[in-house]
């Protein structure tokens, strides 16, 4: 078997003096579609950012394609889709311009975009179905469409692995289905996918491995079929009534089984994740 795409050994991350990830061992293999699930604050986004080398580890190490992630030269092999675009910038930017910025790691700073670059950008726009919106100001698009712009930006570099942080958060069902269709095509083409979610929705059929985080530790790692129903929070349009909490003891043991999640109240809003 070839080198894992990502490999974290005994990973620990401390943010602002608080341990967010503890003793995480995780290998992501080529061609896998891995979903990282867990409650808000369980360390999902932190795990993603640590895998990408965006956060320093307090302990342990992360390797990407066999080398320590900080030393990875070919960054274009990793396509990252952040949870939300940073606050809209002070200048309008067209969809094509944003997607083209994803192509930059493929060439040295002094070389202008060539034909191959433009072709890759056009192909990425085609994959997410935004080719006809390429000239528009991206800040005028809906949340789901902006999410697709960011996916296209990651795809423009033609990465081997796609890392998506909460690609379904705040995205309507139609756009979630479009996302699922896009990912399905990429997976069929051999792309490895790692995504964070707190509800899988239309993505569920694509997932072949689920990792559930709880308090910064891996509480479950295995096929999604063995996950208890509703383990990723279910519907969250409306707060649950307190009676849900009465079913479970409020103090959950540290060695939690994924089954405990069955009775956890669903999550609302965004958090540290």
């Amino acid at each position: 078997m070839s080198e894992p795409v990502f490999s974290m050994r005994d990973g620990a991350v401390v943010l602002g003096g608080r341990p967010v990830l503890r003793r995480v061992d995780l290998d992501v293999h080529r061609g896998e579609v891995l979903a990282v699930l867990g409650a808000n604050g369980s360390g999902k986004s932190t795990l993603m950012r640590a895998l990408l080398g965006l956060l320093p580890l307090a302990r342990g190490e992360v390797r990407a394609f066999g080398v320590p992630v900080d030393e990875l030269r070919d960054r274009y092999r990793i396509g990252y889709v952040p949870q939300r675009a940073s606050a809209a910038s002070g200048i309008p930017a067209s969809v094509r311009e944003i997607v083209a910025s994803g192509r930059l790691p493929r060439r040295p700073p002094w070389r202008p975009a060539g034909r191959a670059d433009r072709r890759a950008v056009a192909a990425a726009l085609e994959v997410v179905g935004l080719a006809d919106r390429a000239g528009e100001d991206a800040s005028h698009l809906s949340g789901g469409q902006q999410q697709r712009v960011m996916i296209a930006r990651a795809l423009a570099a033609e990465p081997e692995v796609l890392v998506l942080d909460e690609p379904t958060a705040g995205v309507d069902l139609a756009n979630q289905r479009a996302l699922a269709a896009t990912l399905e095509r990429l997976v069929a083409a051999g792309t490895t996918v790692v995504l964070v979610a707190h509800e899988l929705g239309p993505l569920a059929p694509l997932i072949d491995r689920a990792v559930v985080l709880r308090d910064g530790r891996v509480a479950y790692d295995g096929p999604p079929a063995a996950l208890p129903i509703d383990s990723h929070g279910g519907d969250h349009h409306h707060p649950h009534d307190p009676h849900d909490d009465e079913i479970v003891p409020t103090s959950v043991p540290e060695t939690a089984s994924p089954l405990d999640r069955l009775t956890e109240p669903p999550e609302h809003g965004e958090g540290v994740g």
Binding site: G53, R75, P82, A85, S89, S101, L104, P105
Partner: protein, 331 residues
């Protein structure tokens, strides 16, 4: 046209042309990062640089470049590593810069008139050496800014993504700030240190009234800045007023002309755009769809009943409904 035959006027025109191109080019990236006033702050710091040149009898342009670039790098470092105090630290640097400049000029035995030429621009002070330095610096700024434009754009647009893609975010931010500092010094002779920021920002604001993309904004701002700069210089020469003020007022007039057009286009677009697809909206539509339903959930409504705590939910379109008053909560 007799004025144009003077050598100092020809020098000043070349300087104004290049300044008009370079200032908005750098300014676009400052506006993108929401740092429109950074140029103003660097201008304050450059006053100390000019005064140092006067005091030591070296070229004020040279000392201004050195001090301004050093100040810009310090500001960028404070912005990156300083936490909540960064804002105050910037104020300290700005005012330290201008106060130090005035004090040092006094120590050099020069009156306020000498400083005035640097603060508000003065075409007659452009000498042959000054012009050579100005051209060299302006061309440097243009080449660096336009070459790295795609990276500057990516880094400012989404720093998190840029870091994941292996772009050196901190490095490119410092280069942008340093280029802004060089531009301030270049524009010192035509627009003056206190008004240079206007030439970096106002043409960008004007261009973005009409553009939908970044490249269009950048090019539009450079054209606008160049026109205002050259036209302002000519007007000021014939009417005999300070060139800086004339140039800045021209850029503001350009903004005043394009703003109504931009506002009209934005309004049209807002009216034409469909409702945003946010979750609240989806819920609302959902509720409407359900309100249209003609039955109450009950033991015989056909939806599967699921006991849930102290009540019964009904499976409905893949989710659960709990009766609550006159509507259904989603469980």
């Amino acid at each position: 046209m007799s004025l144009l035959s003077y050598q100092f006027m020809q020098y000043a025109l070349v300087a104004a042309f290049l300044t008009g191109l370079a200032a908005p080019a750098v300014g676009t990236f400052l506006v993108q990062r929401r740092l429109s006033l950074l140029g103003d702050g660097i201008g304050h710091i450059a006053v100390t640089g000019v005064a140092l040149g006067l005091l030591t009898s070296t070229s004020p342009t040279l000392t201004a470049v050195l001090v301004a670039v050093a100040g810009a790098v310090v500001i960028e470092v404070i912005r990156t590593y300083g936490r909540s105090g960064g804002d105050v630290a910037l104020a300290l640097i700005f005012y330290g810069g201008i106060a130090g400049g005035v004090l040092l000029t006094g120590l050099a035995g020069k009156g306020p008139n000498v400083l005035y030429a640097y603060l508000f621009g003065s075409i007659t002070t452009v000498s042959g050496t000054d012009l050579a330095v100005t051209v060299g610096l302006a061309v440097t700024v243009l080449v660096v800014t336009l070459t790295f434009a795609p990276r500057f754009f990516a880094v400012a647009q989404d720093p998190e993504f840029a870091r994941a893609a292996g772009l050196r975010v901190g490095f490119y931010n410092i280069v942008v700030s340093a280029m802004a500092a060089v531009t301030v010094t270049v524009a010192m002779r035509t627009v003056g240190l206190l008004l240079v920021s206007a030439l970096m920002v106002v043409p960008v604001a004007t261009a973005q009234q009409l553009s939908r993309g970044f490249r269009a904004t950048l090019v539009g701002a450079m054209i606008t800045g160049c026109l205002a700069s050259v036209a302002g210089l000519l007007i000021s020469a014939y009417v005999d007023v300070a060139p800086g003020a004339t140039i800045v007022l021209l850029t503001l007039a350009g903004f005043a002309l394009t703003w109504p057009v931009g506002a009209y286009v934005r309004r049209r677009r807002r009216l034409a755009s469909p409702f945003p697809a946010d979750p609240d909206q989806a819920t609302e539509e959902h509720l409407r769809a359900h309100a249209a339903e003609d039955h109450e959930h009950g033991p015989d409504c056909g939806h599967r009943a699921v006991p849930h705590g102290d009540h019964v939910d009904y499976l409905h379109d893949g989710h659960r409904h709990a009766p609550h008053g006159t509507h259904y909560d989603e469980h």
